[in-house]
């Protein structure tokens, strides 16, 4: 048995990804076939955001990874200088 923190984090990730997938699938695939005066459209942003948001999120992720690598390499260089 994994520790309870491991299980909580793991199950949290699973639930989060299922929720995200369901919301995004309804947004992209189901909504175009729903009447434009149906109330469900209030729960979803305009369609352009269904493309803009993932692109922005991917950019943020790449910047974060790049920044992390930069910080680690910089700290490594500082340590080498001290030695």
């Amino acid at each position: 048995m994994a520790t309870w923190t491991d299980r909580a984090v793991g199950m949290g990730l699973v639930v989060f990804s299922i929720l995200l997938f369901t919301y995004y699938s309804i947004w992209v695939i189901v909504l175009p076939f729903v009447n434009s005066d149906h109330a469900i459209h209030h729960y979803f942003l305009p369609r352009e955001y269904s493309v803009i948001l993932p692109v922005v999120a991917a950019l943020v992720l790449v910047l974060f990874i790049g920044g992390f690598i930069t910080v680690v390499l910089w700290k490594n260089k500082q340590k080498k200088k001290v030695q």
Binding site: A2, G10, M11, V14, F16, I18, V28, V51, P54
Partner: protein, 92 residues
């Protein structure tokens, strides 16, 4: 044909089909609702794949079993290796 070539061929085929539908290159006159589903499709597939990967990672983190004895053994071996290397002059 190498695997890379196969994947590139498959992806470009799908890309061509998607472009034909989205940019109306063959005058297919597809109904408006299907067009609205088609144009975000590549990003939708990427997001779906990302969600699947996240779910698999989360599930395997949750179901990975602890091995108490192996962990203890590993810690002892680490300490032994540290002492050995320090004797031979390596600084930590």
């Amino acid at each position: 044909m190498t695997k890379l070539m196969e994947w590139l061929l498959g992806l470009s085929l799908i890309g061509v089909l998607w472009s034909i539908v989205t940019f109306d290159l063959l005058d297919l006159r597809i109904s408006d609702q299907y067009l609205q589903v088609a144009w975000p499709l590549p990003i939708y597939l990427l997001v779906a794949f990302g969600c699947y990967s996240l779910a698999v990672v989360g599930y395997r983190v949750a179901t990975f079993n602890d091995c108490e004895t192996a962990a203890k053994e590993l810690q002892e071996q680490i300490q032994e290796a540290k002492r050995d290397l320090q004797k031979k002059g390596l600084h930590f």
